[in-house]
Amino acid sequence: MITRRTLGRVAAALLASAALPALAQDRPAPFDNPGEVEIALVRYLSTGDFFQAYLAGVQRQADALGVSLRVFDSRQDAAVQADMVDQAIALGVDGIIIQHGLTESMREAAQRALDAGIPVVAFDVDVENEQIPQIEQSDRDLARLVLEQAVEDNGEEWVAAYVYVPGIAPLDRRNEVWVEFKERYPGIQEVAQFGTLDNPIANSVANQARAVLSANPNVQVVFAPYNEFARGVKIAVDEAGMSDRVSIYSADISTADIGAMREPGSAWKATAATNPAVVGEVSVRALAMLMAGEDPGRQVIVPPSLITQAQLNEENISSMEELSARIPAFAHADVAAPDWMPLPSAPQD
């Protein structure tokens, strides 16, 4: 996404990198001469708002450092992704970010990069290598934050429906928290579990949710820990005319979700999210630390923020940009940020 604002930021970053050679020299090698540094982003998943925003964050931090970025996009082909790592090695890049993928196909490829002396970080894929830091958005914190809000809003006793598709790593991690929560609050009674990834996901989930709501008209809370699920549930709740009786709690957020949460009388009460752009920035920063010979730690966790309907209404927020501007915790994570690290300028002027 290139807005006038990001263009401005890019221009500012360019100007800064041109005007401040003295500053750049204060940075550890190789960032004292960033023009000759190239990093590669090797992606497994790329379609969708989340991945677009992630890429924007990677680009932003790369610009702030003044290094060039090369993007490889395997489009969900595990074998191609492994080949792309080899391609990046052959091109002699100075660092590699692996974004998603399969453990089995990426483990050896990542090791080959290390053998070639190229530092590697991995986002949301476990390559089972001690030398490769894992960038993670904490799905467990995400689920915990929003469920605590659900308990605060609804008390400790409610009838719940739960949307879940097993076998998807982030959803599995969110599910662990849900299972713990049900144990901790025995008053929470789960009467239905459903979910599908048939696309358009929101439409398919809406069809399911309506069946569930008509079979269980006593449901008070729907826990839908993925925004596509929550969208579908909201459609079903609206169509069934149950908005005043049902509350939806979700995870993740996008501009369209903000609109849906702020509709008058919306059942979508709260969500917890990590800003994908910030995750992108942190990925580059962790890689940069590694390239400079510093240790970002084995796990680099980007903390999520809780976003409630009330908060959005109070601050009159209607887009992701405004969300970043008015909720600073969402715009910036103080993770992998040593003193020398140039940070992308704040989204608001």
Binding site: M1, I2, D49, P200, N207, S214, A215, S318
Partner: protein, 330 residues
């Protein structure tokens, strides 16, 4: 009428009734008016797509691009209203034009360029999946989104457009269900009662004979793809009106579900051929099944399994039990 004939003619409808009875018995909420409305609404979109694909099946063709046409219409409708800030009428008009246009290109590729139907529409499917993402650089469309050219999208989905997917006649029947019934009746009348429909069946069973009898085979085949594309776009419009946003999606599940409905339709009343009534019943069948299983908390993979099993059973009804057809071909 022998027992065998009876099974062929009414077997599938009896299966449908039995299933409704079973779900009604297991789940008290199933046999209610709201539940019936839910089911109809959940099948409205795939049903309309399935009726379109039925028209191409009738002329012996196939349209793999309908799912992509529907999601392209979804994105186009959102783009027209949110980015160009135009009204509901423009959105609907442009989407239908787009669908008809895609159908026309499909038809020309198949008839004039002699590209096999599966390959032509497969190619079109990929073109559309890519094309619908180009204007927004892969992002979903919603009010307040940042535009690639700078600035922020200010438009909103017009209430009139959203009503297409959300308004209910007498507070009960959603408009999308009315569209489904309307399209089903129109396609049925067109295929069964008009000269054009009969000629299309004639082309499907023997294109050469139809041509020798003076039918403009090419024009009818192109026409079938135009109908299919237009109906797919209509399905996409209803989808957009329901979702209220332009979601990036490939539409492959829409394609599979609607093709399944059309194929199940072969078995209804022992027709052994694509037909509008059968397609509508097929769509309903899949809808009832999924709705009932979801009410019983069956996970999604069992639903896929059951859907597949139903399709196989329907195909057995069509090809094995209808012995006449098999003997005639042998």
């Amino acid at each position: 009428m022998t027992a065998r004939d009876f099974a062929i003619r009414y077997g599938f409808l009896l299966l449908l009734l039995g299933m409704v009875g079973l779900f009604g018995w297991l789940q008290p909420g199933f046999l209610t008016v709201p539940s019936a409305v839910f089911i109809l609404q959940s099948v409205a979109i795939t049903g309309i797509l399935a009726l379109g694909v039925t028209c191409t099946l009738v002329v012996g063709g196939f349209d793999l691009s309908i799912g992509a046409v529907a999601t392209s219409a979804l994105m186009l409708a959102a783009y027209v209203m949110v980015v160009w800030e135009m009204g509901a009428l423009a959105a609907v008009g442009l989407c239908l034009l787009m669908g008809a246009g895609v159908g026309l290109v499909n038809g020309l590729l198949i008839v004039k360029m002699r590209v096999p139907d599966l390959l032509a529409t497969l190619g079109m499917m990929f073109v559309l999946i890519g094309l619908q993402r180009i204007p927004t650089e892969g992002n979903s469309i919603a009010t307040g989104m940042a535009l690639p050219g700078g600035g922020v999208a200010q438009g909103t989905f017009s209430p009139a457009f959203l009503a297409l997917g959300r308004y209910r006649l007498w507070d009960v029947v959603p408009l999308s269900v009315v569209f489904l019934l309307l399209v089903a009746v129109l396609v049925w009348v067109f295929l069964e009662l008009t000269r054009h429909g009969r000629l299309m069946y004639a082309i499907g069973s023997n294109a050469q004979a139809a041509a020798l009898a003076g039918t403009n085979v090419g024009a009818y085949r192109i026409g079938a793809y135009v109908i299919s594309g237009t109906l797919a776009a209509l399905g996409g419009i209803l989808l957009a009106a329901r979702l209220g946003r332009g979601d990036v999606a490939s539409g492959n599940n829409l394609l599979l579900d609607s093709v399944a409905a059309a194929l199940i339709g072969f078995a209804v009343l022992g027709a052994s051929r694509p037909n509008a009534f059968g397609t509508a019943v097929g769509a309903l069948f899949v809808g009832i099944l999924l709705q009932g299983l979801t009410m019983l908390n069956a996970p999604y993979y069992t639903q896929d399994f059951v859907k597949g099993a139903v399709l196989v059973v329907a195909l057995v009804f069509t090809f094995a039990l209808t012995g006449r057809g098999a003997r005639a071909r042998a």
